[in-house]
C-alpha cells in the first residue's frame, strides 16, 4: 500500500491551507459549477476571458484537501494564459491522472513546459478513489472554457 506521504505532499497541504485565488468574480465573468456526486463536494470556477486569454480566475466551494489543493494549483497555473495553452494543460493533467482521452482527433500534447507544483499531485494516481477529487476542478474549468466561447 502506498504511504500517505505519496498523497499528502507538503506542497499539497500548503495549497490546502492557503488556497490561491479564492473568491468570486462578478458577471460578465463565466461561472461554472462542478459536483462530485460520490462525496457531495462542490466547486465553482469563475473566469474572466478576454481576447482568448483567461485574465482572472477565482475558485469557490468546499472539498477535501486533494480537490481544494488541485483547484488552487490549477488557478495559479492558468491565470493569464491563453485558452489553447490551458486546454493543453488540462489534457496533460488528466493524462497524469491516468484518464485516457476519448477523442483521438485532438492535436498532439505539448509537454515542453514543466508542470511545476502540479507534479505534486502525481501521487494521487496511487489512490484511485481520489482521482475524482483531483480532477473535479479541471473538469469544471473545461466547462467554464466552453461557456466562454
Amino acid at each position: 500500500m502506498p504511504g500517505l506521504e505519496d498523497l499528502y505532499r507538503e506542497i499539497i497541504l500548503d495549497h490546502y491551507r492557503s488556497p490561491r485565488n479564492r473568491g468570486e468574480l462578478a458577471p460578465p465573468a463565466v461561472r461554472a459549477e462542478g459536483h462530485n456526486p460520490l462525496c457531495g463536494d462542490e466547486i465553482q470556477v469563475y473566469l474572466d476571458v478576454k481576447d482568448g486569454i483567461v485574465t482572472d480566475i477565482k475558485i469557490g466551494g468546499q472539498g477535501c484537501s486533494i480537490s481544494q489543493s488541485s483547484a488552487s494549483m490549477m488557478s495559479a497555473a492558468v491565470k493569464g494564459k491563453p485558452i489553447a495553452e490551458i486546454r493543453n494543460l488540462v489534457r496533460r493533467f488528466k493524462n497524469m491522472m491516468s484518464i485516457e482521452e476519448d477523442d483521438e482527433s485532438t492535436p498532439p500534447l505539448d509537454e515542453s513546459k514543466p508542470l511545476g507544483d502540479l507534479e505534486a499531485l502525481r501521487g494521487v494516481v496511487k489512490f484511485p478513489v481520489r482521482i475524482k477529487c483531483a480532477t473535479l476542478a479541471w473538469n469544471t474549468l473545461l466547462d467554464g472554457l466552453d461557456q466562454s466561447i
Binding site: M1, C39, G40, Q62, G63, C64, S65, R130
Partner: protein, 410 residues
C-alpha cells in the same frame, strides 16, 4: 449481552483477512454488512445441489429450488412478525421496494393537490421516488423538521399530515443513527387518513422488528445490510393494500393469464415479482436471518448499545471539542451509526488516513443530501458498528484518528 463479538467475528472470513499485516477494522456496516461463513456456505451448497428455476417446472430439482425460495419468504415473515407469508414481496433491494409503493400505490391513489410527508433525515431512496411521483402527479412534498439534537421535531405533525395521503419515514437515520418513534408516527398518519411507510433498512438488521406492533402499512428493507447477499430486498405490505394495487413490473411469473388483448395478474406475492428472482440470494438471506436469529435480535441491540456507548465516550474523552458527533448522544434513542466531524479535517481525508490503519469508514453525503445541508456540511465521516465489532474496534478508530490530527493539525 449474550454473545461475544470476538467469537462472532470468527464466523466472517473476510474479517480474518489482513492488509499489510494488520487486521481489518470494518466500521461501514450501515453501508453494507460483511457475510458470515453460514451465509456463504448456504449459497454455495444451494448452487451446487439444488439450483433450478422456481415456480415453473415439474421436475424434482425445480421443486427443491421453489421450496428453498419459499422457505426464505417464510423466514422473513417470522423475522418481522408479518401476519401472512404472501405479504412478503421479494424485490431487488429496499430502493426498489420503495419505488414499487410509489409507482403502484402512489400512482393509483394520489391526485393533484394531495400531499406526501417525508422527514429531513431520509435517505435518497425515500426521497427521489416521491419527487418523481410528485412531479408526475402534481403532489406536494412536505418535510418533518429536526430538533437541534437530531430527533424528529413533531411539534407540527398534525398540521403537516393534514391533507397527506402518504407518510414515509425511516425507522433509523443512516447518518445520525436516530431511532424514530415508529408506532407514534404510524398512529398519527392513520389518524390523518394517510398510509404509513417505514424505511427499515437501518433498523431491521439491528433491532427486533415487529411490523404488527408498528401497525405500519408498508416496510422496506434489504438483505445486504443484515449479513445476507446484495441483490435482494423485501417489501412487506398489508394484504388488503397489496391486493388493491396495480402491478409494478410486468413480465413472467406475475401473470395469471396473458392474451393478445390483455393480461390478468397472479395472486400475491407473485403479482409483484416479475421475472426470475434472486433465487440463490433468497437462500442466502434466509441463512442470514437464521444466523441473526440464533444470536437473538434483542442481544444484537443490547450489544450495539454497549459498543456505541463505549465509542461515544471514548471519542469524546480523548478528543473533547475536537470531535463533533452528529445526532442524539443518548444510546437509548440511537443506533450504532456515528457520523462525526473531526477538527476541520475533511471527511475524505479522515477516511484516507484511517484507511492506513485498515479502519474502514464511510466518507461522503451518505445519500442524504438534504440532511447534509441541514448539518451545514457537504460530507461527514461515519463509523457504524455491528455484531462483529467489539470495543477494541472503537479503540482502533480513536487511535487512528490521532494520525489525521497530526497530519492536518492546523
Amino acid at each position: 449481552m449474550s454473545f461475544d463479538p470476538i467469537v462472532v467475528k470468527k464466523d466472517f472470513p473476510l474479517l480474518e483477512r489482513e492488509i499489510n499485516g494488520r487486521s481489518i477494522v470494518y466500521l461501514d456496516s450501515a453501508n453494507t454488512s460483511q457475510k458470515p461463513r453460514q451465509v456463504i456456505d448456504a449459497m454455495s451448497r444451494f448452487t451446487e445441489t439444488s439450483y433450478a428455476p422456481i415456480n415453473r417446472s415439474a421436475y424434482q430439482l425445480a421443486a427443491e429450488s421453489t421450496d428453498a425460495f419459499e422457505a426464505a419468504r417464510a423466514a422473513v415473515r417470522r423475522f418481522i412478525n408479518a401476519p401472512k407469508v404472501q405479504e412478503v414481496i421479494f424485490t431487488k433491494n429496499a430502493t426498489e421496494a420503495l419505488n414499487l409503493v410509489a409507482q403502484s400505490w402512489g400512482v393509483a391513489n394520489l391526485r393533484a393537490g394531495d400531499a406526501i410527508l417525508l422527514t429531513h433525515m431520509e435517505h435518497h431512496a425515500n426521497i427521489v421516488p416521491w419527487h418523481m411521483l410528485a412531479a408526475e402527479r402534481g403532489v406536494e412534498l412536505r418535510w418533518v423538521p429536526l430538533t437541534a439534537d437530531g430527533l424528529l421535531d413533531l411539534t407540527n405533525l398534525p398540521t403537516l399530515l393534514d391533507g397527506a395521503k402518504i407518510f414515509s419515514f425511516t425507522a433509523m437515520s443512516n447518518v445520525l443513527g436516530t431511532l424514530t418513534p415508529v408506532r407514534q408516527l404510524v398512529d398519527a398518519a392513520h389518524a390523518a387518513g394517510a398510509i404509513a411507510i417505514v424505511d427499515g433498512c437501518q433498523y431491521v438488521p439491528h433491532n427486533p422488528t415487529d411490523v404488527q406492533a408498528w401497525g405500519a402499512d408498508f416496510v422496506a428493507f434489504s438483505s445486504h445490510k443484515l449479513c445476507g447477499p446484495s441483490g435482494i430486498g423485501v417489501l412487506w405490505g398489508r394484504e388488503t393494500l397489496l391486493e388493491e394495487m396495480p402491478p409494478f413490473l410486468g413480465g413472467g411469473n406475475m401473470i395469471a393469464d396473458v392474451r393478445l388483448d390483455g393480461f390478468s395478474c397472479a395472486e400475491l406475492p407473485a403479482k409483484f415479482e416479475a421475472g426470475t428472482p434472486a433465487i440463490t440470494e433468497a437462500v442466502g438471506m434466509h441463512a442470514a436471518i437464521s444466523y441473526l436469529s440464533s444470536l437473538g435480535m434483542d442481544n444484537v441491540r443490547a450489544h450495539e448499545v454497549e459498543v456505541t456507548t463505549y465509542a461515544i465516550d471514548k471519542l469524546k474523552t480523548r478528543y473533547g471539542d475536537d470531535i463533533t458527533i452528529h445526532g442524539p448522544v443518548d444510546p437509548a434513542v440511537r443506533g450504532a451509526t456515528l457520523s462525526f466531524k473531526f477538527k476541520d479535517v475533511h471527511p475524505h481525508d479522515v477516511s484516507q488516513v484511517l484507511d492506513q490503519s485498515n479502519v474502514c469508514v464511510r466518507a461522503g453525503h451518505h445519500c442524504a443530501k438534504p440532511l447534509m445541508k441541514l448539518l451545514g456540511a457537504n460530507a461527514t465521516a461515519r463509523a457504524s458498528f455491528y455484531i462483529y465489532n467489539s470495543t477494541a474496534d472503537a479503540d482502533a478508530l480513536a487511535d487512528a484518528l490521532a494520525n489525521a490530527g497530526d497530519l492536518f493539525g492546523f
